[in-house]
Amino acid sequence: MAFKTVRRRIVKNMGSDANIARAKIMLVDDDQDFLEVYWEILKGIPIAPEVHTASTGARALALLESEPFNLLIVDLNMPKMDGLQVIAIARRKYPRLRIVVWTAIADEQFRARAYGMGVDQYWQKPGSDDDRKHFIESIETLLQHEAQGGFRGVQSKSLVDLIQLECLSQNSTLLRISNGTLNGKIWIESGEVVDAETSDLKGEAAFRAILGWKAGNFELLPGVDGRERTIFSSYHALLLEVAQALDEAGGGVTPLTPIDPDAPTSPLMALTRFSGVQWVLSVGAAPKFNVQSWGLETPDQVSDWATESLKSFAELGDKLQAGPLQQITAMSASNHVAFADSIKGELCVGFRSTLKSDEVRESMRNILAKWLS
């Protein structure tokens, strides 16, 4: 029952000036005029970051290699190595690096591609004083979030602990929880749970569903005043009810034993409860590449095909700079399949042919979320 979060509740005046001053920015643009102007502007912002400049992508990557940076601000349209190439490499090598795109290109496609590759912000090059002010403010905020590390760390807590803490402190907060592709929200107002919501449930039903998730990420956001109350039970009663339900379902314990595909309660078999699923196959992550399957006659051949296909299309995504591969689905008159890669390994699912293409995709997203949780 571990949930990880990046806690965004920041207590003012707690980041020491020394920490903030260490913030380092790498500014990349082949236009020397822009570099000079923004080097000057960024150096002048109140938290006084250290600003380095590079006029080519290759030079920027070399500098990133030589010392740690907090923020990379990169243009897209550059000769030889363009901004998307720089982002692709930087994102892979430095996953914690904040990346901001600033470009003169006003094209929705490049914006989508940049966000798809994991940038934090996408800006069109400031054309007016107001634009420039907003750009600088956003950079400053981004760096402050980086610097105020004492109140922006990673925690591992159960949801029950979290809700108890928030309620006991009489807080008003919005707790946003994600579990793979599933998202939920719980509103707490002055120490009472007032509302909850998932994609298809509301109120107490949503609260119970969210508390049933075994792992995921949460974010504590400022409370919203005047949220319409749909939950009237006390938080004690709600948590007690959920704890009893989890105990009865045996869901309170995360199994630590290896997955046995033949056991009726195996996690792999649990995935076949999703509508339309005919078979499931998983290939464990490196270095073991354990193949496990349920309901499949030729698991070795299918796992080879799935592994090759996921590798091949992931490479293609890199080459086209279309972002990381999300999912592969394939259809035939007799059955459908879907493949996805994850930190846990590869997951392949066979579906009945009665499902439509969109249904297969959606179902696979939910199955993957369940598998990962």
Partner: protein, 100 residues
């Protein structure tokens, strides 16, 4: 000079390649038969995409789960392909960000 510099600055030179939008068909040997993709999109890259798609369909056949249609999802591109008796027709559609 400043005016001229402004005119010929990089704002007028597009170096980035846009994601292709359109369709192309391949025969069973991977030769491109027909294409509606922009002429600027390199044919070698078209052949490479085609090769990967054909390998996918052949792999399906080998794994005894023959497939007729393939969808590959990236955050900013969707690739759809149909098996045409050993060859394939491939559709490439750049994706935009969902509107809030």
């Amino acid at each position: 000079m400043a005016v001229l510099k402004k005119f010929f600055s990089k704002g007028n030179r597009m170096r980035l390649t846009k994601l292709p939008s359109g369709a192309f068909a391949l025969d069973r040997d991977g030769h491109v038969i027909v294409s509606t993709l922009p002429g600027s999109f390199p044919e070698a890259q078209m052949r490479e995409i085609g090769q990967r798609v054909l390998e996918f369909f052949r792999g399906a056949q080998t794994a005894q789960v023959p497939m007729q249609e393939l969808n590959v999802y990236y955050p900013s591109l969707k690739l759809t392909a149909r098996n045409l008796r050993g060859g394939a027709i491939i559709f490439l559609a750049p994706q935009s960000l969902p509107k809030n």
